[in-house]
Amino acid sequence: MLEQAVIYTFVALVLIGGGLAAFSRQILYAIIGLGISLLGLAGLFLNLGSPFVAAMQVLIYIGGITVAIVFAMMLSIAMSIRPPNPDARKLGFAIACAVIFFGAVAHLIRGAQFQQIASPASEKAWSVGALGHALLTHYNVVFEALSLVLLLAIIGAILIARKA
């Protein structure tokens, strides 16, 4: 019972934060909404059995990406800038697209037959040790490629953003 309440709290955090991020005209509130949504998502990951991914979500997404976006906002637009007037036609178009998308996906999910496993895999298969082992053996190439991509992204970001 308590567990259910906690899960639904996380779902509410995800959706409320997402709504704040999607509909807010003030960019700072949108970023805060993004942070709330990501925090709720980390809780859902925890509930889905993966504390490591939840921790990475909090560390990288909330601690890194959200803060980087706040920095970029402060460096680019003055805090006092007046947000542009809401464009009702554009917002209506966006909401129509999103409703159509959600309806289609919900219809698909209703109709789909998933081959669900009877019970979750063993505790050992979910451990961080198993994750690290897979990352350094079977998924080694992906791991290395990702490090290369991150390195190139850092160098590229510095090159693009530096003063000419």
């Binding site: 779902v11 995800v14 959706l15 997402g18 709504g19 991020a21 999607a22 960019i27 949108a30 970023i31 998502l41 859902l44 990951f45 889905l48 993966s50 490591f52 991914v53 990475m56 979500q57 990288i60 997404y61 990406i65 980087a68 976006i69 970029a72 680019s76 637009i77 947000p83 542009p84 917002l91 966006a94 909401i95 697209c97 999103a98 998308f101 959600f102 996906v105 919900a106 999910i109 669900q116 496993i117 979750p120 895999a121 298969a125 198993a130 994750l131 897979a134 990352l135 998924y139 992906v142 990702l146 991509v149 991150l150 190139l152 992204a153 850092i154 590229g156 970001a157 693009i160 953003a161």
Partner: protein
């Protein structure tokens, strides 16, 4: 919660991200919408990983790679925003029309 409930939450989050990405003209707001959509995909992967896949490392590694790629993407995107701001003194997507005929 069942698999279907998680998938519905993911679809709702993706729809919110779609609204954010389509309705705003501010480049940072566009980025926030894109981030929401990526996270909806992560949630779907984690839900399938828990309920459908027999080897639970696969989905977790997928999500870790998504997080890493999102970090790289945000770094590039934000530096481009700073560059655009320095050139145009604005980050309104509809005012960036220098290349239009």
């Amino acid at each position: 919660m069942t698999l279907e409930a998680y998938l519905l939450v993911g679809a709702a989050l993706f729809s919110l991200g779609l609204i954010g990405a389509l309705s705003h003209r501010n480049l940072i707001a566009l980025l926030i919408g894109i981030e929401l959509m990526m996270n909806a995909a992560s949630l779907n992967l984690m839900a399938f990983n828990r309920f459908v896949v027999t080897d639970p490392t696969t989905g977790q590694i997928f999500v870790l790679i998504i997080i890493g790629l999102a970090a790289a993407e945000v770094a590039i995107f934000l530096s481009i925003i700073l560059r655009i701001y320095r050139a145009y003194h604005d980050i309104d997507a509809e005012k960036l029309t220098k290349l239009s005929g």
